[in-house]
């Protein structure tokens, strides 16, 4: 087990370097000069442009910039923003807790509602419930998330007035409820479909027949035997999804004015703050890598047939 974890951690190093390098290069080929952009519509001052460029290390060759950046990263230094010369770490520190909160709430929706729907549909297969759940999940997946977001905002925020249309305080759980639901909606549908299919398959498994034959009580069969075995793919999905939820909230955060990572990323892209983008992706990749490791370990716990050497 320990050796397995160590090997996985070692494998993360090239992946981590590869991802950051890829994003770093991608950000650097973007058209538009961030230093020039500080002057907006107005003509820039070449001497000041040179000064700022030098100051932020943007006059170095690309490979040096990357090494420089990674070197700083190892010491916990994410660099400074081009506009305003502020530490990027401060911006990330401000945005991540917000996104984390939103992601955890969305994730909880996926977990609770998703599995509940899946179980409902799976256990009572080929009934009206099953068809309704299937149709619902299909609809959720087919409609673009921003259409959902805007409609729910229009209905609950504007027409009914149950919530504020946009989030005023990104640290308020109540206000984050609607955006979290929108963010978790697609995942929720996948979780429901996944658990439904998985349960449906496992219902016919031999061990189920054995359990029924042994005369075990129904709820025990369902919870101990059926669910435990059926939820393995669901767990893996949920595990890797937490990272996706954090980084993929650009749309939801934009619609509901949540000042999280997605918003920060969007603004950084518009202002060509390359170091901010790379910094965020770095953190997201770390989250993703660690989450997938945890999922794999969890997998062994759920499925005794799998042993890591």
């Amino acid at each position: 087990m320990g050796r397995y974890v160590a090997r996985r951690l070692l494998q993360m190093i090239p992946v981590f370097i590869g991802t950051t390098l890829l994003i770093f290069l991608m950000v650097n080929v973007l058209p538009g000069d961030p230093v020039r952009a500080l002057w907006g519509d107005k003509p820039p001052d070449p001497a000041q442009v040179a000064q700022i460029r030098h100051d932020r290390g943007l006059d170095l060759p690309l490979w040096q910039q990357y090494l420089h950046y990674m070197g700083g990263l190892l010491q916990g230094d994410f660099g400074k923003t081009i506009a305003g010369n502020r530490p990027i770490l401060d911006e990330i520190k401000q945005a991540f807790p917000v996104s984390m909160r939103l992601a955890v709430m969305a994730w909880t929706f996926e977990l609770v509602i998703g599995i509940a729907l899946g179980v409902l549909a799976g256990v009572k297969r080929s009934r009206l419930v099953d068809n309704t759940v299937t149709l619902f999940t299909l609809l959720v997946i087919s409609v673009p998330i921003f259409v959902f977001g805007l409609f729910l905002q229009l209905i609950f925020g504007n027409e009914l007035g149950w919530v504020t249309p946009t989030v005023q305080d990104s640290e308020n759980f109540q206000q984050l409820l609607l955006p979290a639901l929108v963010l978790g909606l697609v995942g929720l549908a996948y979780v429901a479909r996944l658990s439904r299919t998985s349960i449906a398959e496992n219902r016919q498994a031999d061990y189920m027949r054995t359990a029924v034959a042994k005369g075990l009580p129904r709820h025990r069969i369902i919870t101990r035997h059926l669910l435990r075995n059926s939820l393995i793919p669901v767990v893996t999905y949920l595990g890797t999804d937490i990272g996706t939820l954090m980084g993929g909230a650009v749309i939801t955060e934009g619609i509901f004015n949540v000042t999280g990572v997605g918003n920060l990323l969007f603004d950084a892209l518009g202002n060509r703050e390359g170091a901010v983008i790379v910094g965020i992706v770095t953190v997201l990749v770390l989250v993703y890598l660690l989450a997938s490791l945890v999922v794999d370990l969890l997998y062994a716990v759920l499925d005794p047939r799998i042993r890591y050497a």
């Binding site: 973007l30 058209p31 538009g32 000069d33 961030p34 020039r36 952009a37 500080l38 002057w39 907006g40 519509d41 107005k42 003509p43 001052d45 070449p46 001497a47 000041q48 040179a50 000064q51 700022i52 100051d55 506009a83 305003g84 010369n85 502020r86 401060d90 401000q94 805007l150 905002q153 229009l154 925020g157 504007n158 027409e159 007035g161 504020t164 249309p165 946009t166 989030v167 005023q168 934009g254 619609i255 509901f256 004015n257 000042t259 918003n263 969007f266 603004d267 518009g270 202002n271 060509r272």
Partner: protein, 541 residues
């Protein structure tokens, strides 16, 4: 001298495509007493300033509005575009408009008690001109003699002070310019010409985070990306003494969020209602809606360096201009919130005249078609209009294109560029394919700013590579005039001349569209689109 100056530009304030919506009932009556509370705090929907709060380093809108509350400069201008004196007792040019003598009002102090003297100005300007201090607005001093020693195009400063700035006595200094500029006093309105206390020059970093000015408001706190708070300063000597107790500049990342807050009285006013609410804001706010003239103009400009427009007959451009149904587009796409332009100068500045563009800015499809034909047609019979897609330009660009195609048969498509940064780069590098959209907000309320600074041969603001000798001669003459009035008149002649060369096609004049909450009254905006915050009165709760 007359490169385009940077006044301020609106920072990329969120993306309009992400337009959320808000609706529901209009403003609720929150039952205020109707009595004014002189200690009440006004909240203003702002954003996070781009840079530290230093006057010479602030050009975008979010920082500008805070700096304006904290600092008071030498002069300002009124609604007619006339100079008014603030910290200056007088600003007088010599007969060539080359040497300007500035006399300060006596007894003014900074918030920290230091006296505001001639030295506070001269030292601040010299400090800001040095590239080592990284002040973005430093090129504003370029008209002053000795600027090039302090701020060479490349490398370090050769001298620490501009020889054109001389302290005469405690309250007097002189500015010597390289060339005479009759309207130079207007430039002194801008932030780089504000004074700084001596301590701020010693520790700029600290004072950038907690600025000390000489203005109506005193700095209180800055919670990054959340709010900046300032309080009314009781020792203020200027005319514009605050009628409220202070201002809370709240940072919003989306204008739609600010709009929702404004409707629920959680913020008192905002700079501009979001594009998605232009159709609704008058209905949402009733008599609390604000619609004011704003000295800015929208144009589409041909890239004269391209093969298509290089040797074009001006009749073609006149024809294209006549093919655009400005009034209908203003009525529909803009929901009546813009006004068709009749010339190249924005309204509300000195020297503005009606109909400078004459018949060529009036919609007439028949004449348009005939003119284009007479001019030999549009090369390729196809044009494209470049715009940045991160701001709400698409709607009107498509409508303009449609109008052109329908009236004249010339193919026209929008050419969106992802965002402003990329758009600017293409324009700077002179890689526009056909025509680009352009807009200009006044630097100073003088018609010359919209003419010489945009269409003079080779000036920085002239992105389309336009060049017309006749026009250049007329503007040069206007710059040699003895008085501002005379100069403005001569510039009017230059504007008329543009009919015969058409450097850009004028489209609309902008307006400031805003509203205020139930908590306040007397909310107004000036012609630069900035709120006049010191006049706002807050009701007792």
């Amino acid at each position: 001298m007359r490169g385009a100056k940077s006044a301020k530009w609106v920072a990329i304030a969120g993306v309009v495509a992400l337009g959320a919506t808000a609706c529901g009932g209009g403003g609720s009556d929150n039952g205020n007493s109707g009595k004014v509370d002189p200690k009440g705090i006004v909240s203003y929907a702002n954003g996070e300033p781009q840079n530290a709060l230093q006057p010479s380093n602030t050009m975008e809108a979010y920082g500008s509005v805070v700096i304006d509350a904290l600092f008071t400069g030498l002069v300002h201008y009124d609604k007619q575009g006339n100079i008014t004196y603030e910290n200056a007792e007088s600003v007088t040019p010599d007969k060539d408009s080359k040497v300007w003598t500035v006399k300060l009002k006596q007894g003014w102090k900074f918030h920290n008690g230091e006296a505001v003297t001639a030295k506070s100005y001269v030292d601040a300007w010299n400090w800001a001109a040095d590239p080592a201090n990284g002040q973005q607005n430093s090129s504003w001093y370029r008209d002053i003699v000795g600027y090039d020693d302090v701020h060479p195009a490349k490398g370090k400063a050769k001298k620490k002070a501009m020889s054109g700035l001389k302290v005469v006595d405690e309250n007097t200094f002189t500015i010597t310019l390289k060339n005479g500029i009759p309207y130079y006093a207007y430039k002194l309105v801008y932030k780089p010409f504000f004074p700084l206390p001596s301590a701020a020059l010693k520790d700029p970093k600290k004072y950038g985070e907690s600025p000390v000015g000489n203005g109506p408001y005193k700095f209180k706190s800055w919670d990054h990306k959340k709010s900046i708070q300032v309080t009314a300063w009781s020792d203020y000597k200027g005319e514009d003494k605050p009628k409220n107790g202070g201002i809370n500049f709240k940072a919003y990342s989306k204008d739609t969020a600010a709009y929702a807050d404004l409707k629920s009285d959680n913020v008192d006013t905002m700079p501009l209602v979001p594009n998605s609410e232009i159709a609704n804001f008058k209905q949402d706010f009733g008599d609390r809606a604000i619609e004011q003239d704003f000295s800015a103009i929208n144009t589409i400009n041909p890239a004269f360096y391209t093969k298509q427009w290089k040797d074009i007959d001006v009749k073609v451009l006149q024809g294209l201009s006549m093919a655009i149904d400005r009034d209908t587009i203003a009525k529909t796409v803009f929901h009546g919130t813009r006004e068709s332009a009749t010339g190249w100068v924005a309204k509300g500045v000195k020297g503005w005249t009606k109909d400078a563009c004459g018949e060529y800015c009036k919609f007439d499809p028949k004449k348009a078609k005939a003119a284009i034909k007479a001019g030999g047609g549009v090369p390729g019979n196809k044009i494209s209009i470049q715009y940045n897609a991160d701001q709400p330009h698409k709607d009107w660009v498509v409508a303009v294109c449609n109008s052109i195609t329908k009236s004249t048969g010339v193919q026209c498509v929008g050419d969106p560029v992802t965002d402003f940064a990329a758009d600017t780069e293409i324009r700077d590098q002179k890689k526009v394919k056909s025509i680009y959209r352009s807009g200009w907000v006044l630097d100073y309320p003088f018609n010359g700013n919209f003419l010489a600074d945009l269409y003079g041969t080779g000036v920085d603001g002239n992105k389309g590579g336009f060049s017309d000798k006749k026009f250049d001669a007329l503007t040069a003459k206007a710059d040699k005039a003895k008085t501002i009035e005379e100069s403005a008149k001569l510039y009017q002649e230059a504007e008329k001349e543009l009919q015969n060369s058409f450097p850009g096609i004028p489209l609309w004049y902008n307006k400031t569209l805003s509203a205020h909450s139930n908590n306040v009254k007397n909310v107004e905006f000036d012609q630069a689109g900035d709120p006049i915050l010191s006049e706002v009165q807050v009701f007792e709760k």
